[in-house]
């Protein structure tokens, strides 16, 4: 039979100019459709099944966001697996040769494979979205009522079409960007195994590097607090964590734009990829040092941090360096072996030497603070405010829209305190967690809109002796930031009642009971006394540091909420929270110490003092113990396996001695040698085990003579 070129049953070719190859796309879909089905089943289980369950409707505030996390993780996994399957032909010599010898240009192969992968990944997600829409249409809205201080009640449909759209858009986005990353990984690597590993590297290594830098900053730089944008950067450098944290339209658009950039990068590399590099670990020489050093850096820091965390305080830094050295060496050798595909790696001395030098420079840079981070203190003129709650005490940031103190005196004192801390940093750096330190948080708002944050761990004793700290805490602006009662406009703020709680751990142990003031006159009188005392209060009265006076009475201000809502909304509020909003209060607390003389005097006048504050008549006996803390080489208190035994003990029974103890003892004590007084009530059945007794303390300086002498 004469053979001629016939075109029977054949079609004209897809020309080399076309971007896509329809036969290739169709073939890919035919080959991998089962994966798509599995992806859909997964989505259905993750997204649709919970929605169809009855109790899902009871969900509060989270609805779709609860299924977003597994859905995004599932989507990411699907995209990675799809890329592994579709680009597997690149990772074997035989398949790479056959596929590229076919009448398909590299352009067509790249674009068609991308599109095939996208169809395989996105269709199940789109189908899931469609099903969610149908469920939404069938079941109607899922309303959630939230309360906003400004807007009042806000009704939200947690299962609106818009929410579903956003939910599906987030899943599609994560799949698009992860697929783009996975495609880049496929082009950069020469085996399926390294392709899988490269996905993890590209998706996680940049976040890891930022987190490591933050970790190193925390370890080496005194006062280091990562700027918020740096922590966010670590989060958003990986699209998976980024979209888990925030699936807003803005983030979606940004990630889609990044996907386009990754796509172009992968396309350019695909065009340049040498097929003979199939089965190599990495297919581009330029990527070898980048990947090798990035992973070595992570390995170094990872093992260093692990050693640091697992070692005791005094050995932490040497162990950190040992861990870093071992981590760097192991990771470098392992990665280089993998890249070179041989046990006896070439160029080890030069390659590792370069890294070691860079690592030494980095650590030395942190040590020497070459960027001047530790020394930097802002000028007062640069600042617009300093955040409330400088010492992490009695502030929950809830009672004001503005969380910054903008008073110039307070700002000046805060900066001066900051300067003192920096000046004394070498001594303060050695301070470790002993329980007698306080965290000083200096969060500045700069006039240029930026923020500057520092957090220092400073001994309470040091703080109490610092004039700027004292001056700052005793300033009116600072007090007002802590005690809004000082700045309330009495015409606008409706105090419903003040609940006075007695001294001691529990009501009744000392025969004490709470009191409630609800008469306007009484409330006004007590508030004025409190204000006057707060005005005059010293640091000792305003902090609960060691060496400060014990709290005698706790005041709880119950203030009617400034905004009333309709009965209908109030009922909705009740159904959700179990209380009526219109009958609910806002609560503010003040600890009355013995420095609140006017308040205590007023309580006496009101006849409430004795029912709230422990007096000698309430005391059965006082057991006094002399203790000495056991310190380690660095002067820090050691961890005790059992409570330390007293050096000496004595029992007090004289009411006059009771009075002196109650009037002079401290609420806590930071001295190494101290006296602990266990006060046993006349009433009740308190015992040390049950915690019903009251503990007060003395140091050597202020201990009454009858105790000091009694111990001799």
């Amino acid at each position: 039979m004469k053979r001629e070129v016939t075109r029977m049953n054949s079609k004209k070719s897809y020309s080399s100019n076309s971007v896509l190859s329809v036969p290739l796309i169709v073939e890919n879909l035919k080959r991998f459709w089962l994966g798509s089905v599995l992806a859909f089943i997964g989505y259905f289980i993750i997204c649709c099944v919970p929605v169809l369950m009855d109790d899902w409707a009871e969900a509060t505030g989270s609805a779709l966001s609860t299924i977003r996390i597994p859905a995004i993780i599932w989507g990411s996994g699907i995209a990675i697996v799809a890329a592994l399957l579709i680009y597997r032909y690149l990772q074997q010599q035989s398949s790479a040769a056959i596929v590229h010898a076919m009448p398909l240009s590299r352009k067509q192969l790249f674009h068609s494979n991308f599109l095939s992968g996208m169809i395989l990944c996105l269709v199940p997600a789109l189908l899931t979205g469609a099903i969610l829409m149908i469920i939404r249409a069938a079941r109607g809205p899922l309303e959630y009522v939230d309360f906003d201080m400004v807007k009042g009640f806000v009704k939200t449909d947690l299962f609106s079409y818009r929410e579903i759209l956003l939910f599906i858009a987030a899943i599609l986005t994560v799949m698009i960007i992860v697929y783009a990353v996975a495609m880049l990984a496929a082009v950069l690597t020469g085996t399926s195994l390294t392709q899988a590993g490269m996905n993890v590297v590209l998706l996680g290594v940049f976040s890891a590097v930022v987190l490591i830098l933050i970790g190193l900053g925390s370890l080496f730089l005194f006062g280091f607090t990562p700027p918020e944008n740096l922590s966010s950067l670590a989060l958003y450098l990986s699209p998976v964590t980024g979209l888990l944290a925030d699936s807003s339209w803005k983030i979606i658009v940004i990630y889609l734009a990044v996907s386009a950039v990754l796509y172009l990068a992968a396309y350019c590399l695909y065009q340049r990829r040498k097929l003979e590099r199939a089965t190599d670990t990495l297919t581009f020489d330029f990527s070898k040092p980048i990947i090798k050093y990035l992973l070595t850096f992570c390995g170094m820091a990872g093992l260093g941090m692990l050693f640091y965390l697992l070692s005791t305080t005094e050995h932490q830094m040497p162990m950190l360096y040992l861990g870093c050295a071992l981590g760097a060496l192991i990771t470098y050798v392992a990665v280089d072996m993998l890249i070179q595909k041989r046990f006896r790696i070439k160029g080890f001395v030069k390659g590792f030497g370069l890294f070691a030098i860079a690592a030494v420079v980095l650590f030395a840079g942190f040590h020497a603070d070459i960027l001047g981070y530790e020394k930097h203190v802002p000028e007062v003129g640069e600042l617009a405010g300093v955040e409330k709650g400088i010492i992490n005490y009695n502030y929950d940031g809830s009672w004001s829209d503005d969380s910054f103190i903008r008073d110039e005196t307070t700002i000046r004192e805060a900066v001066a305190l900051h300067r003192d801390i920096v000046a004394d940093r070498e001594a303060l750096k050695t301070v470790t967690e002993t329980g007698y330190n306080s965290s000083v948080q200096l969060n500045y708002e700069l006039k240029n809109g930026k923020q500057m944050r520092r957090v220092y761990e400073v001994p309470q004793e040091w703080l109490m002796e610092n004039e700027h700290f004292r001056s700052m805490v005793e300033s009116r602006a600072y007090k007002e930031s802590l005690y809004p009662v000082m700045a309330w406009n009495d015409d606008k703020v409706a105090i419903d009642r003040i609940v006075l709680s007695p001294q001691g751990y529990s009501e009744g142990d000392f025969g004490k009971a709470s009191a409630i003031l609800s008469e306007d006159k009484e409330i006004k009188a007590l508030t004025e006394a409190v204000r006057a005392d707060l005005e005059q209060a010293k640091v000792e009265d305003l902090t609960d540091f060691g060496g400060t006076a014990p709290t005698l009475v706790n005041l709880e201000y119950q203030v009617k909420k400034p905004m009333k809502i309709s009965k209908e909304m109030d009922q909705l509020y009740y159904e959700r929270f179990g209380v009526h909003y219109n009958e609910d209060f806002e609560y503010y607390y003040i600890s009355v110490t013995r420095g609140f003389t006017k308040t205590l005097e007023l309580l006496k006048e009101m006849g409430l003092y004795e029912s709230l504050v422990i007096v000698p008549e309430d005391v059965d006996r006082m057991e006094v113990g002399l203790y000495e803390r056991t310190l380690d080489e660095e002067g820090n208190e050691v961890d005790y396996d059992e409570p330390p035994a007293p050096l000496k003990t004595m029992t007090l029974t004289d009411p006059e001695q009771f009075r002196e103890v109650l009037d002079k003892a401290e609420g806590s004590c930071w001295a190494n040698r101290y006296y602990e007084v266990q006060i046993y009530p006349v009433y009740g059945s308190a015992s040390a085990e049950e915690g019903g007794i009251l503990y007060l303390y003395f140091d050597e300086e202020n201990v009454p003579d009858f105790i000091r002498n009694g111990m001799k």
């Binding site: 029977m8 054949s10 004209k12 590229h100």
Partner: protein
């Protein structure tokens, strides 16, 4: 039809192809012979557009091959190391090829499947190596290529199938003017199939000859000349000479008639112009004593 000029390729500092030149005429069957590692497969992967050359050019019908769909549509390639999509059978693969190759001939495909007796619905990965080669051959030939590139195609085929494959190739060359490049590490495989041979060694083309020309151009002479007479070989291209007692043996390239006339003019006692095998020709053409040639010849 195929023109390769100054092709150079280096892998991690190793020169796999070094300034290589090759010419394949349209409608010819070109045998590319070389020992393992000589660069045959690398050359073929350049010719099929898989590899991008570091230097030089590869043209098919005057068009560059690399990333040129137009050329690839007219070219079929059977690799030494075969690859099929997993889970695919011959039928499924043929459907894919049918969409890719514009000259696909379904009738021929069906005819060849019957001819080789392959089960179209069995997974290709379950086929034996020989059956996979047959499947690849069916697909390649059904695409009705103008250029067929075969890398060690006869490996793993039994003699009967081998004959059928060779027959089909020769028929297509004769009937359609198909150009074939076939590689082998053994010259014997090429005899009776190729009309042109190229020998590749260490990435360079040692020689490239048309077999007819080669056979008519190289002559083996055994002669006994009168005592004291010097052999009349001045000015001739003597590839090899040897004297055993009174008998002189020469391998000479040149015009046979002229050579014979020269010798006969001396009235030798004995003069024999002996036939040469392809192996012998190549031994003498290439210096013959190199180990690598022994490998491809024997």
């Amino acid at each position: 039809m195929i023109e390769i000029r100054n092709l150079t390729k280096t892998f991690d500092g190793f020169k796999a192809l070094d300034d290589l030149n090759m010419h394949v005429r349209r409608g010819s069957i070109y045998g590319l012979v070389g020992v393992n590692g000589s660069g045959k497969t690398t050359l073929i992967k350049h010719l099929t557009g898989v590899y991008r050359p570091d230097k030089g050019e590869i043209l098919v019908d005057g068009q560059p091959v690399y990333d040129n769909v137009g050329v690839h549509e007219r070219m079929s390639y059977i690799a030494d190391d075969l690859y099929f999509f997993s889970m695919y059978n011959l039928k499924g693969f043929s459907e894919y090829y049918r969409k890719l190759y514009p000259n696909w001939n379904q009738e021929r495909y069906e005819e060849m499947v019957k001819q080789f007796g392959l089960n179209e619905t069995q997974k290709l990965t379950k086929f034996s190596k020989g059956m996979q080669k047959q499947a690849a051959f069916i697909l390649a030939m059904s695409a009705m290529p103008e250029v067929l590139v075969l890398d060690e195609p006869l490996d793993g085929l039994d003699p009967l199938i081998r004959r059928v494959v060779i027959r089909d190739i020769v028929e297509d060359v004769a009937e359609r003017g198909m150009t074939v490049l076939v590689s082998s590490h053994n010259l014997k495989d090429m005899e009776g199939l190729c009309d042109c041979i190229g020998i590749i060694s260490k990435g360079t083309m040692l020689l490239e000859r048309d077999l007819d020309d080669l056979k008519s151009d190289v002559h083996k002479i055994q002669t006994v000349l009168p005592e004291g007479t010097k052999a009349p070989v001045d000015g001739l291209n003597v590839l090899f000479s040897e004297k055993r007692g009174s008998v002189d043996m020469f391998i000479i390239r040149g015009d046979g008639e002229e050579i014979e006339n020269r010798f006969r003019a001396l009235q030798p006692a004995v003069f024999d112009l002996l036939p040469m095998t392809l192996e012998e020709i190549f031994i003498y053409e290439t210096g013959g004593d190199k180990d690598e040639f022994k490998e491809i010849l024997f």
